[in-house]
Point group: C2
Chain length 225, copies 2
């Protein structure tokens, strides 16, 4: 009953285009659609049992998000991110994370600090059992929550755009087990810095973590190249 009603509500507020858009986004985030893949209109239309119009509208939306590329009369492709753009994305995320730290440190609530510490524990647990897929997702949620706490909805929106785009960088999870230790040290440093309430220190901890993350990325991609 509640489910039926909430579904109805969803159907009332979310158009088919929106649902298609969200589903494709999910496919990209989960890696089922990888960079370079072609997205066939008829394919998706049949798959979702809808006409091509909403599919095309979803494509346009995803194009504006920078997740797919529309080539006129050729088709839609999941965007490929090269080394240059990867570096650019990290620089951008560093800027936003730095700002997040500066905004959040002076206003973070005790209950929010508690929650972040609980995320740290969950991340530790995932790292301990070497569940890198889980660690990956928890890591994203941890950072997303921090940006949420900063209390700037527009900042959060742009931050998420960047993260979404970074999914196209999908690095392989294997052989990064030991990295989670370094990553977790940085995570703890972030939470501690936030706890002090010092904007500069929190900003620095946030920026530094992004920088280290980039170093880890290039290390891995060099390995695989």
């Amino acid at each position: 009953m509640t489910t039926a009603l909430s579904n109805l509500q969803i159907l009332q507020t979310r158009s088919v285009s929106d649902l298609v858009r969200e589903e494709i986004l999910r496919l990209i985030k989960s890696g089922q659609l990888a960079a370079g893949d072609k997205l066939n209109e008829q394919n998706f239309a049949q798959r979702f049992k809808v006409s091509r119009a909403p599919i095309r509208e979803a494509f346009r939306s995803l194009e504006a998000d920078g997740l797919v590329k529309l080539e006129k009369n050729r088709g839609v492709f999941v965007r490929e991110i090269g080394e240059v753009e990867a570096r650019e994305l990290y620089a951008l995320r560093a800027a936003l994370d730095e700002t997040t730290g500066r905004l959040l440190a002076p206003r973070i609530q005790a209950i929010q600090l508690e929650e972040l510490r609980s995320w740290l524990q969950r991340l530790d647990a995932a790292a301990e059992r070497s569940d890198m897929v889980d660690y990956f997702e928890l890591n994203i949620d941890f950072h997303d929550r921090i940006v949420e706490f900063a209390g700037n909805a527009t900042l959060l929106e742009f931050y998420r755009r960047i993260i979404d785009r970074m999914h196209l960088l999908r690095r392989r999870y294997f052989s990064v087990t030991h990295e989670s230790h370094a990553s977790q040290d940085e995570h703890r440093a972030i939470v501690e810095a936030l706890a002090t309430g010092d904007p500069a220190r929190a900003a620095q901890a946030m920026r530094s973590h992004v920088g280290q993350g980039y170093e880890r990325l290039v290390a891995v991609t060099k390995d695989s190249a």
Copy 2:
């Protein structure tokens, strides 16, 4: 001949949806479409002599850009930006401009500094003849060029998104003549800071200018309220 060819090229690479999207974007930037205005599908279809499908696709693209809002079964409206979001946008732009200054200062070329100084002169000229519309446009170009010089295409893309959205804040130009002097002082400080090559100083000059701009905005909106 060259024109005809390049037009043909444009028609080959740009779809009708793209052209519609760009035209609506222009209307928003020029203020002919203001925050809250409704965008009627048939209206635009007849106006551009096309069917409604490309119009709808353009709407979806603009929605992802955060310039219009789609309300299911109700229509498309130019987004309205309240005080809260205005503050958020400025905070975000400050973060990006700060990063721009930091990136650009160590790598700016002599010829680029020359160009920026020529922009300063043009801005002075517009201010002198109290042509605030011109000053407004030149100001946007000046800043856009700086971000371009920073050499991070993704940063530029996101910066432009923010600027586009800020057009919805369209403040009135009158009674801001005296402000252009303060604004120009800050512009000169930015160029000088960039010329020193000191990242921290350039970052500070850029951030400060955005902050001052925000102060000027709230001063005006308070006046008109």
